[in-house]
Symmetry: C2
Subunit: 136 residues, 2 copies
C-alpha cells in the first residue's frame, strides 16, 4: 500500500532536516547515507519540490532545504503527495466510478472505518517527530 516513493520521501526529508544547518543538502550525499539509488531518488525529490515541500538550489554548493519548519510537515500529507489518496480499497478512491453495489454493500462501512483509522494515525505525526526518533 505504501511504496518506496512514500518511504524514500520521508527518509529524504528527515535527512535534509538533520543536515540543512550546514547549508543546502545535495541529493547525492543523502542517497549515499540512506543507501538509495541516486537516479531513483531524483524522481521522488522532484515531486517534493513541485509541491513546495523543498527548496532547491542548483550548481556547486547547491542542494535542498526544507521550505518550512519540520513541525509543519504532517506525515499524512507527505505520503499523499507521493502515493495519491491513500484509500485501502479501490472503490473508495475519489473519482472512482460509483460502485453499483454501494447501497447494499455489507463491507462499505468496514472500509470507510479502516480508511479513517489509517488517516488519523498518519495525520498525528510530523517530520519533527521522526527526527526526534532518529536522534535517539
Amino acid at each position: 500500500m505504501i511504496s518506496t516513493k512514500g518511504r524514500y520521501a520521508l527518509r529524504f526529508l528527515v535527512d535534509v532536516a538533520e543536515h540543512q544547518a550546514e547549508g543546502f543538502v545535495p541529493l547525492k550525499s543523502t542517497a549515499l547515507r540512506q543507501g538509495i539509488s541516486e537516479k531513483y531518488l531524483e524522481i521522488v525529490v522532484k515531486e517534493l519540490v513541485k509541491n513546495g515541500l523543498l527548496t532547491a538550489a542548483r550548481g556547486k554548493g547547491g542542494g535542498y532545504q526544507l521550505s518550512r519548519v519540520p513541525e509543519e510537515y504532517s506525515v499524512k500529507t507527505i505520503i499523499e503527495i507521493m502515493e495519491g489518496p491513500l484509500s485501502p480499497v479501490a472503490c473508495l478512491r475519489p473519482g472512482q466510478k460509483p460502485c453499483q453495489q454501494r447501497s447494499i454493500c455489507p463491507t462499505l462501512s468496514l472500509w470507510q472505518g479502516l480508511n479513517q483509522v489509517i488517516s488519523e494515525y498518519l495525520a498525528q505525526f510530523t517530520l519533527a517527530d521522526l527526527c526526534r526518533k532518529s536522534d535517539v
Copy 2:
C-alpha cells in the same frame, strides 16, 4: 493494499452466511447477486475452501456453506488468507531480508505503529458484524 481478492472473499462469505439456511449456496447465484465474474470468483473461493472456511458440495443441489458460525470468522483472518500478511510497507513483511538501515531508520516505528493500528481494527470485526450491517 486490499485487492479484489480480499474484498470478494468477504462479500462471498457474507452472501453465503445469509443464504445457507436454504441449503448449499451455489457460486453462480452469489456471483449474480454480487455482480462478480463467476470464473474469477472461483479462484477466490478455492482459497477459502482450502483454508477450511467453507465446506463444498458438488453436483446438483451442491454449493457452499460456512464451516463454522459467522461469529468465529474474524475479518483480519479472512483478509490475511487472501492477501497474505497485511503489512503496509514491504520492509515489515515476514521473511523479508532485514533492511540494512533498520537500526537507524527514522520511520521504522512509524510503520510498526501503522501495522498495529490496521491489525487491531480488522481483528475486532467478524462476519456476524458484516451480516448485521447488510440487514439494515
